[in-house]
Symmetry: C2
Subunit: 338 residues, 2 copies
Amino acid sequence: MSVTIKDIAAFVGVSYSTVSLVLNGKAAENRISAELEKRILAAAKELNYRPNTLARGLRRGVTNTIGFVISDVSNRFFIKLARYVEKEAMKYGYRVLFASSDEDENRCVEVVNTFLNQQVAGLIIIPAEGLEEKIAQLTNLKIPFVLVDRHFPKIDANYVVMNNWQSAYDATEYLIKKGKKRIATFSYATNFFHMAERLDGYKAALKDYNIRFDRQLVKEVPFLDNEKSEVLLGEYIPHLVEDLNIDSIFFQTNSTAIPGIQILYERYIRVGKDISVICFDDNEFFKLLMPPVSSLLQPIEEMGIESVRILIDEIKNKRAKRMKNKTVYSAKLIDRNN
Amino acid sequence: MSVTIKDIAAFVGVSYSTVSLVLNGKAAENRISAELEKRILAAAKELNYRPNTLARGLRRGVTNTIGFVISDVSNRFFIKLARYVEKEAMKYGYRVLFASSDEDENRCVEVVNTFLNQQVAGLIIIPAEGLEEKIAQLTNLKIPFVLVDRHFPKIDANYVVMNNWQSAYDATEYLIKKGKKRIATFSYATNFFHMAERLDGYKAALKDYNIRFDRQLVKEVPFLDNEKSEVLLGEYIPHLVEDLNIDSIFFQTNSTAIPGIQILYERYIRVGKDISVICFDDNEFFKLLMPPVSSLLQPIEEMGIESVRILIDEIKNKRAKRMKNKTVYSAKLIDRNN
DNA sequence: ATGAAAGCGCTAACAT
DNA sequence: ATGTTAGCGCTTTCAT
């Protein structure tokens, strides 16, 4: 059995509430003598006391934990984001629990519930599609939360997202200005608002430059693991290149970009076919490919920090907060002249 | 406030212990009528009851959680491992909590303590250097744990690791058989046993093929973020290529391979210099580089599954277990003919 | 077949 | 300045 405050109390010869006060740094305000404080602290250390987080959380009603729901762990963007979130939360004295939903609605609901059961102080969520109803529920529960990367226009919630329309517009315009006219684009098959915004940005750029929108050049790929994505893209890409005569591709998501680039480079670009590529989200290898791949760089660190800031703010001022915080970032186009 | 079993009890009009029994699936064995069971379940659903994990854990003394300590989140290998661990643990009904130590001893101790405070049922740890003492403590605490990727020869603990010596030997031999003679190698500056094994494997291969070991060709890089690694490698690599006339590199770690390859390809290989590269750990982009990069592929999924299996086994048979489980995997050399 | 009650470890209000 | 005590939500043993 592990050491409890009662053991410390018995060891030092005081009541266990005194121990609790000292251990919580409330010695001074309760006028507990410095000498006793020191003895208690020493005893705790000697006995290797470790506070039971469950008991403390149960008693207090909340914990100093926040839950982070990641949609897709194989996406570097989310992992980096998680890292910054953890680092930032630590500054405020909060621990972060992680869980992944694999872009699955039910799994997402499940992990959110698990977090709620754990009495987390708040949530940071990269929501899966179809989570709208659950998110609405959270609002009723009065639990602070922030949506990241994606949000639901109909729900008034805190969010931290990208300016998807503008970013997609910029990417498309970049290709157009390089003289490209047959611009394919890959998106993630979803009803998510943010993907619609990206497609609209793409269309708008085409329109502004008088390029006819061709429905055939838009490929929507469901969320799959890397292997299955490769199979699917292994059908789409040859069709686009050989039959539809494309001269460039704008990958709207990391999950299509990685397998897409693999196929594209192995089968076409490396053997001399000139197809320009630009992707949402940068990757450390893009600059090493021949030719390199351009990208839309997202301000991951800022997004992580901001998410935590918003969340902690709401946790601390629970009652006061009325207005939800909506932050929209711009991507930076990394021009690798490809 | 949230809904408790008391609320359900009041709602249905029974005592709250009855509710507890039903909710724990012990209705039958306590001969609670099927009808009442149904009413209680319905009430729980209707009131949107969510069990308080803290209270349950406090009462039970353990939780169905296991803690996973990751050393370096920027390493894809560990992220993938984490994913498989989570998936496998779920099959046994366990949740996985994640935390990263950033290869820092103190941070590692901290997160292990946090996990212990949370009453986790067991731990899976990718230990940071210097964690030996803490690991020994864990043994005394009788908490089940498994070390992954690295272990301490002096400590009798469960572990799941690679055959580092053989893998390094194979990689070096691969380069030698391609006719390379000036083989540089990058390792992680540490006293870790597994890195020493890799260096020994490298040396052994050189010796077997009568190539003189040159201390200057061995570079040890401390654990740094990607940016700082690039700076450091930006000094080492030109020196190796220009002054020491190397013809190949064996990167012993992912953390040196990624920035190393970046510098190598940008400054030398892309402009015609012929330097073969092989790395511990594969990467999806290796095959796309020109020339491609060979690698030692680790059986990540098996390692994850095995770690969980060992851990759960020890959790379930706490008292019985005497022998520790030591699993060693072999890497597969991916020959990209570079 | 159902209820009463103890107690897990801790915090904090109240007492002395 | 330190001690007493109630109770957070739950499980489980023992009564009835």
